[in-house]
C-alpha cells in the first residue's frame, strides 16, 4: 500500500475494485438484514401464538368450587337397608346437594328460584358424592364439608370470562345468582382451586367435568402403536432399498412411489384405514390400535426417506473397511452403517411422529372422533386423540369450552415438546459414541 502504483492502469483497476467493494458489502448487509427480519417475524408469530394460547388456556387449569356441608342421610339418597355396592350406586346423590343448598339459603322458596339455586353447582356433583360413598360407605349418616365443582356459568363469572355489565336479560347468570356467589364467597365457601378433573376425566357434556385424560391416553396409545410399526418397518425398508436392493427400474419405481406417498393428504390414509383395517379386517372402530396403524402408514414414507438419506450419508470407507475384513453385508449394516446413521434416522422418525401426533383427519375416518368418557385401558378400547379432542371442544357452544380448548392445545404442545426432547436426548446418546 505504501508503494506508489507502478502504472496508472493499475491505479484505475484498484479504484474500480474499491468502488464495487462498497456495493458488494451493502448487498451482503441487505441479505443479512433480510435473514434477521425473517427469523424475527417467525419468532414474533410464535410468541403471539404461545401467548394467546397461554392466556386463553391457563384459566382452565383452575376450577371454581363450592364448599357444601353435606349430610349423608340415607333417606335423602333413597337407600333402603341394602348397603351393597349396586344399591349404593343407584342412589340419588344430587338430592344431597340440593338439600344442602336449601339449608344454606332458606329464604329461597319458589320452584323456579330453587332451580336457579341448584344450577350453581355442577350436575356432576352428585356423581362425585356417589364415588365418595362407594369408596367409603362409612360416611353415610355423617356430615362432611365437601368441595364440589360449580357449574360452568358460575365458573365463567368467577374467572371474569363472562360479562356482568350487560342487562340481566342478556346474561346466562342473573342478578340473583350473582348475589348468591357473593354470599358464598363472603362465607369462604367459594374459591378457584386446581382443576384435577381436567387431567383425570374423560370428555363430558358439562365443561366443568370435561377432562383431557381419555384423549391423552388415546394419543399415547396411538403413538406407541405407530412407533412400534412405522419405525422398524421403515428402517428395515430403508436398509434394504439403500444397502441391498439392486438398482433396477423396479427399485426406481418404488423410490418414486415412496416419495409420492409422503405427499399424500392424510385423510386419504384415513380412508384406506377405514376400507382395509375396519371393513376388510374387521378391527374395532375408534380404537388406538387402528389409529396407530393408520398413522404408521402415514409416517412410513417420512421415516423411509429420512433413513435412506441418513444411510447414504455414512461414508463408504466404513462399509469398505468392514467388508474388506470379511464382515457379511448384514453384519456391515448392523455393526457399522446403522449405528452411524441412527441420529439421522431418529430425527426423521421424530419429524414423522410429530406430524402424526397432530393429525386429525385420518382419525376422523376410523371413528376416533367419538365422544369418549371412559379412559381407555388398552389399545382396542374406544378412544379419542388430543387433536380430535381439541377439534370437538372448539366446536362446542359452551363458553367454558373455549378455555378448555386452549388448555388442550397447551397439553398437546407439551406432549410434542416431550417427544422432541426424548428424540434429542436419544440422538445425543448415539452421537456420543463418536
Amino acid at each position: 500500500m505504501r508503494n506508489p502504483d507502478a502504472t496508472p492502469a493499475r491505479a484505475e483497476r484498484r479504484a474500480r475494485i474499491a468502488r464495487r467493494l462498497g456495493r458488494r458489502y451493502r448487498a451482503e448487509r441487505r441479505f443479512r438484514m433480510l435473514g434477521v427480519a425473517a427469523v424475527s417475524a417467525a419468532l414474533l408469530f410464535l410468541a403471539v401464538l404461545l401467548v394467546t394460547v397461554g392466556l386463553q388456556g391457563s384459566t382452565a387449569f383452575v376450577q371454581t368450587e363450592i364448599r357444601l356441608d353435606i349430610v349423608f342421610d340415607a333417606d335423602t339418597i333413597g337407600l333402603g337397608t341394602d348397603r351393597g355396592q349396586a344399591a349404593l350406586g343407584r342412589g340419588d346423590y344430587q338430592a344431597l346437594v340440593k338439600k344442602s343448598l336449601r339449608a344454606m339459603f332458606p329464604d329461597v322458596r319458589s320452584r323456579s328460584e330453587r332451580r336457579r339455586l341448584y344450577g350453581l353447582v355442577s350436575s356432576g356433583a352428585g356423581l362425585e358424592l356417589r364415588d365418595l360413598v362407594l369408596g367409603d360407605p362409612g360416611v353415610i349418616g355423617t356430615t362432611r364439608s365437601v368441595w364440589l365443582p360449580a357449574s360452568d356459568d358460575v365458573d365463567m363469572v368467577v374467572k371474569g370470562r363472562a360479562r356482568t355489565d350487560l342487562p340481566a336479560s342478556d346474561r346466562r347468570v342473573g342478578d340473583r345468582e350473582l348475589g348468591w356467589i357473593e354470599t358464598l364467597r363472603a362465607n369462604d365457601r367459594l374459591e378457584t382451586r386446581f382443576n384435577v378433573r381436567f387431567f383425570a376425566n374423560g370428555d363430558s357434556r358439562e365443561p366443568e367435568l370435561a377432562g383431557i385424560l381419555a384423549a391423552l391416553v388415546g394419543s399415547l396409545f396411538s403413538m406407541l402403536v405407530c412407533l412400534a410399526l412405522a419405525f422398524p418397518i421403515g428402517v428395515m425398508a430403508a436398509i434394504y432399498l439403500e444397502e441391498f436392493a439392486p438398482r433396477t427400474r423396479w427399485t426406481d419405481l418404488i423410490e418414486v412411489n415412496i416419495n409420492n406417498l409422503a405427499a399424500v393428504p392424510s385423510i386419504i390414509f384415513g380412508l384406506l384405514g377405514l376400507a382395509v383395517f375396519l371393513n376388510l379386517f374387521g378391527l374395532p372402530r375408534s380404537a388406538p390400535l387402528v389409529g396407530g396403524m393408520v398413522l404408521a402408514l402415514m409416517t412410513l414414507p417420512t421415516i423411509i426417506i429420512a433413513a435412506r438419506s441418513a444411510l447414504k450419508a455414512v461414508p463408504p470407507s466404513v462399509r469398505e473397511a468392514a467388508l474388506a475384513i470379511g464382515a457379511s453385508p448384514v453384519q456391515t449394516v448392523l455393526h457399522h452403517t446403522l449405528p452411524l446413521a441412527m441420529p439421522g434416522i431418529l430425527t426423521g422418525a421424530i419429524v414423522g411422529m410429530a406430524r402424526a401426533l397432530g393429525d386429525t383427519a385420518p382419525l376422523l375416518m376410523i371413528g376416533m372422533v367419538a365422544f369418549v368418557v371412559d379412559i381407555p385401558r388398552s389399545i382396542v378400547d374406544a378412544a379419542s386423540a388430543l387433536p380430535v379432542q381439541i377439534f370437538l371442544w372448539a366446536d362446542s357452544p359452551e363458553r367454558a369450552f373455549e378455555e378448555r380448548t386452549a388448555a388442550a392445545i397447551i397439553v398437546l404442545l407439551v406432549f410434542l415438546i416431550a417427544m422432541n426432547l426424548t428424540a434429542v436426548l436419544l440422538r445425543r446418546k448415539f452421537e456420543r459414541r463418536w
Binding site: 439392486p246 438398482r247 461414508p315 470407507s317 466404513v318 462399509r319 469398505e320 473397511a321 468392514a322 467388508l323 474388506a324 475384513i325 470379511g326 464382515a327 457379511s328 453384519q331 455393526h335 457399522h336 452411524l340 459414541r433 463418536w434
Partner: protein, 276 residues
C-alpha cells in the same frame, strides 16, 4: 519433506538384494488373462501376474492405470461396485477365486486389505482390532481375544503408543497411527495375503517411513501387495514390481531390475519421471 524419506530409505539394506540371495519363493497368487470392465468401459486388459509368497510386490503406474482395480480383484472388493465385471483366472494357492461359488466373506478373511485413507471404525482401538477375530469366531475366550489384539498391535508397531488407551476411539489417533491401526485390524485375522492400496498417500513423511518399515517387517509372516504412486517407495519396500499403464501390465520383474534395467521403454520413461 522428500529428504526425510530418502534418508530413512538409504539407511537400510536394499530389499532387492535380500530377495536375490534367497531361493526362488513359492507363488502365492497367480493371475492369468484378467480383464476388468466397468460397465462398457474396459479397465484392465489381459493381465498375467504372479505374486510370490512372503515377498512385497509393488504395483506402480500413473493414475487410472488399473493398479488399484487389479488389487481389488484379489479380495473381490470389485463385487461391491455396481456394473463391474471380472473375467480371466485368479488363483490363490492354486484355487480359483473368481467363481460365483467362492464365498467372498471367507476369501476376505484370507486376504486382508488396507485402504488409501485410514478408515478405522468409529469404535475403540480395542474394538477395531478385535472386530475381525470376533466376527470370524477366532477367539474362544476373552483372554485369547486380548492376546490377539495385543499381538496384532505389536506387529503393527502400535502397542507401545496405545496400550494405555485401548478404550479410546480409533479416530482420535493421529493419521499415521490410524493407518497402523488399520493394518493391525487387517492382520488380526491372520490373513495369508495383505493388500495395501496406496497406504501412505494420506500421511506425512515420518508416518510414511514408519509404515514402510512395518511393511518390510510384516513380509516374514504375510504376502504383501502394495499399490503406490511413489517410485521411491516401491524401490524401498518391494522385492517385485509390476508396472501398469492404461490398463495393461507393461512389465514386471525384480524391483532392482525394473529400476535399474527396465526392458520396456515406457517403464524407463515412467520411472525416470518423463510421464505419469
Amino acid at each position: 519433506m522428500r529428504l526425510a524419506i530418502e534418508t530413512v530409505g538409504a539407511g537400510e539394506p536394499t530389499p532387492g538384494a535380500v530377495a536375490d540371495a534367497a531361493p526362488p519363493p513359492a507363488i502365492k497368487a497367480r493371475a492369468r488373462n484378467v480383464d476388468v470392465f466397468y460397465g462398457d468401459k474396459q479397465a484392465l486388459f489381459g493381465v498375467d501376474l504372479d505374486i510370490p509368497e512372503n515377498r512385497v510386490t509393488a504395483l506402480i503406474g500413473p493414475s487410472g492405470c488399473g493398479k488399484s482395480t487389479f488389487l481389488r480383484c484379489l479380495n473381490r472388493m470389485n463385487d461391491v461396485i455396481e456394473g463391474c465385471r471380472v473375467t480371466g483366472d485368479i488363483t490363490i494357492d492354486g484355487v480359483g477365486i473368481l467363481g460365483p461359488e467362492i464365498d467372498v466373506v471367507e476369501l476376505r478373511a484370507r486376504v486382508g486389505m488396507v485402504f488409501q485413507k485410514p478408515n478405522p471404525f468409529p469404535k475403540s482401538v480395542y474394538d477395531n482390532v478385535a472386530y475381525g477375530p470376533r466376527i470370524h469366531g477366532l477367539a474362544e475366550s476373552r483372554d485369547e481375544l486380548d492376546a490377539i489384539v495385543r499381538r496384532s498391535l505389536e506387529r503393527a508397531g502400535l502397542w507401545n503408543e496405545v496400550h494405555d488407551r485401548l478404550g479410546a476411539p480409533g479416530t482420535s489417533l493421529s493419521g499415521g497411527q490410524q493407518q497402523r491401526l488399520c493394518i493391525a485390524r487387517a492382520i488380526a485375522v491372520e490373513p495369508e495375503l495383505v493388500l495395501m492400496d496406496e497406504p501412505c498417500s494420506a500421511l506425512d513423511p515420518v508416518a510414511t517411513a514408519r509404515i514402510e518399515e512395518l511393511i518390510d517387517e510384516l513380509r516374514t509372516h504375510f504376502t504383501i501387495v502394495v499399490v503406490t504412486h511413489s517410485m521411491q517407495q516401491a524401490a524401498r519396500v518391494s522385492q517385485r514390481t509390476a508396472f501398469f499403464h492404461l490398463g495393461v501390465l507393461v512389465e514386471e520383474g525384480d524391483t532392482e531390475q525394473i529400476f535399474t534395467n527396465p526392458r520396456e521403454s515406457r517403464t524407463e520413461a515412467y520411472i525416470t519421471g518423463r510421464f505419469g
